[in-house]
Amino acid sequence: MRNFRKFLTCAGLALALTLPAAASLRAEIVLKRGNGAEPESLDPAISTGVPESFIQIDIFEGLVHPGPDGTLRPGVAESWQVSDDGLTYTFKLRPDAVWSDGSPLTAKDFIYSWARMVDPATASNYAFILWPIRNAEQITKGEMPKDRLAAEAVDDHTLKVTLRAPTAYFLQMLMHHSAYPVPRQAIEKFGPEWTRPGNIVTNGAYTIQEWVPQGHIKAVKNPRFRDAASVQIDIVYYYPVEEYGTELKQFRAGELHTTYDVPQEQIPWLEQNMADQFRNSPYFGTYYYGINVTREPFKSNPKLRHALAMALDRDILIKQITKGGEFPAYGWVPPGVPGYEQQQVSWAGTDQKTRVADAKKILADAGFDKSNPLKVELLYNTNDNHKKIAIAIAGMWKQFLGVETSLRNEEWKVYLESRNKKQFEVMRAAWIGDYVDPYSFLELLRGDIGEQNPAGYSNKDYDQAADKAANEKDPAARFKLLAEAEKTLLADMPIIPIYFYTQQHMVSDSVKGWQDNLMDWHPTRYLRVEK
């Protein structure tokens, strides 16, 4: 007991010393966030998921950082210059940037972090995000030592980065968690346990104080954060609630301020009864069906692929099945990229009746009729929502075109293997962009991307347009080239776009400053909690 009191006194004293006197006078402001799932890691080089990124965005800050509306703002870098050829970026770092342990944050920290990211020994899933930096790809492939990364500390606060090609989305890409600085001092001292409370050193608005696996993560305000004065919330809890139904109940009982998602089947109820706290906004993702174009009958007949895409009534699907206010998709890249002209399939302007009539004609021309119907197998990963959509689409194909669809569902990892090995005819899939740029989507259908290509699609014109775009410095001309590529893709129709995603959250009335945005980024440092 005496020891415990001693401990309390010491802890209290320590607390009083670290906190500014004014802060200890007012009650601490707490934000409780539903965060979807237990993080696989808090190490920016290791994690791959969205829940992790929501925590990392609060505890780390990259050279650039998303503002409350998700758009790019200066972060650790206060300014930057791009060379005329678009290959060299020179970042001026803030002289007052420090780690949460008080040590200065310099250009060398970024070089260390990025070299670690692409180092084969780190075995980072997302190493390729940094491959636009010269030599990065060769380092990951083990062809070069990691000190050959083309990033140079001109002085402590000047970082010069050379790219392998003018990469117009390079700054956007730097908002990705892979580009965050990581603390060398903690990693070298604690090894794989450096992300634990007590060990972890951060440079963002918060730092980790508690981590109970599958329980919660508690982050507290980092008083050394360069902009700590503007950070209003003192403590953030992230709860890995996987069941959206459970999460919603916790929200309704006042145990959470914000949720990660909402149960799809409850969206109409929420719109009716909790409209003021229900947030629904566009998200940078596309739900689609991939067609295996390495197999007949689809291999040699792009028209047949169009027929399947045309007979699918997206409006009914969205109104009756998904119900989340999604947007019917007639293109591959979701809307919302500033400056990029959205592309659509040629028949997007016609009404559903005309489409069905045209689709019927295509099928008849290809020799399919009642006695010889087109037979399609549709693969999806086991999930209620995918199943409902698959059944509805199979129904539309049957009703409008007489196509006989057999459904095949597989558990997630089995499905991934079937998909990669192209053991399917048509399969459901979805893609969410890593950064706000059309190439984040268009890259997927390149002929040279390997198994990732969801259709086995390969078209030289498409790849060439994408390559040209990669070397184009002028943003407008680049977008034009990418739009051309997308046009080619939509004419070939190896994938059937179905809808563009929306994202749903519950956000309590007491939380202010939450702005819906395309990447769904809501850093806690821009939020406030009012009673």
């Binding site: 890691s41 290791i46 075995a123 899933n125 109970v212 599958q214 069941e243 459970t246 009982a253």
Partner: protein, 305 residues
């Protein structure tokens, strides 16, 4: 009795080895690997990952390496939750599962046997039908119906109890109740059935004929015997309940280890699956041993010398 226990524990080693071996190869037979995801990784990156987790080595070598680790009490790093080792994950979640499951089991034994005994003594009365009817409902209605219902009514609408989380006694009430209800039902039915049988047996008739007070006949003779089938049920049931319930943990957001059985398999998290399966195996063996030892105390026909 000690030698008996020691012999049984030694005999468990080959059992565990078989469990370990089968699980090791079976999980690797499942299609897909731990690092497959929506984004297919470039081949070089996949190679780097496989090398980091020794998955590029031949299977027999991986097996020997794993066996060596386990002998040293190390279950290796989790493939999915990469900031923790499997041992750390188990030790972080098990106390929670133990507390939750242990309380639920204790509640189930006390209430279940009491209800079952009462029902047996008042066989075919209104009370009997009431208890057994309720027990049937308890068995038939699954956890994933009762638990959300409880949280909706008591948590959301009435606001009496928290709907999820872990740490305070209020947060324990609903999950313990939801976990205990079907167990109470099972135990009550089992106690009732064996009690009815025993009450008709010769030694009870003798006890009554000797003029023993009914209280002594019931508690010292009948109930003790009636508990035997309950005790055999309790061994594996306790092991199952204290290693966590994936349904209850998901619904109430409880940081136990139950979900690792399911998530581990779905994620192809080889080491995590191996860790929890071996852990569960050890618990089953220990609890079965405890059951057998308890038999020695309850049943005069069983002796371990």
């Amino acid at each position: 009795m000690l030698t008996y226990a020691a012999r049984r524990l030694l005999g468990a080693i080959p059992t565990l080895l078989v469990i370990l071996t089968i699980t090791f190869f079976l999980i690797r037979l499942a299609p897909g690997g731990p690092f497959d995801g929506e984004r297919t990784l470039p081949a070089e990156i996949e190679r780097n990952l496989a090398a980091a987790y020794h998955l590029d080595e031949p299977l027999p070598l991986q097996y020997v390496r794993y066996l060596g680790q386990v002998l040293q009490g190390d279950f290796g790093p989790s493939f999915k939750y990469k900031d923790f080792s499997v041992t750390q994950l188990i030790w972080s979640g098990f106390p929670v599962s133990l507390q939750l499951g242990g309380t639920a089991m204790l509640l189930a034994v006390v209430i279940g046997t009491a209800l079952g005994a009462f029902a047996a003594l008042r066989q075919n009365s209104g009370l009997d039908y009431g208890v057994m009817g309720a027990a049937m409902v308890g068995i038939a209605v699954p956890n994933f119906v009762i638990a959300p219902l409880l949280t909706l009514v008591l948590g959301v609408h009435l606001g009496w109890l928290p709907t999820g989380g872990w740490g305070s006694w209020q947060q324990m009430l609903l999950p313990v109740l939801a976990l205990a209800l079907p167990q109470i039902a099972y135990i009550a039915r089992m106690t009732r059935a064996s009690m009815i049988e025993l009450l008709r047996s010769n030694f009870i008739r003798t006890a009554r004929a000797k003029g023993l007070p009914e209280r002594v006949t019931i508690f010292r003779h009948a109930l003790k015997g009636a508990l035997l089938p309950v005790v055999s049920y309790l061994g594996p049931a306790t092991a199952a309940v204290i290693t966590g319930s994936v349904v209850i943990e998901q619904i109430f957001g409880i940081p136990g280890i139950g979900r690792y059985f399911v998530q581990g398999a779905l994620n192809r998290d080889y080491t995590l699956v191996m860790g929890v399966v071996i852990f569960y195996g050890v618990l089953i063996i220990v609890f079965n041993l405890l059951v057998d030892l308890a038999y020695g105390l309850l049943d005069p026909r069983v002796r371990y010398d």
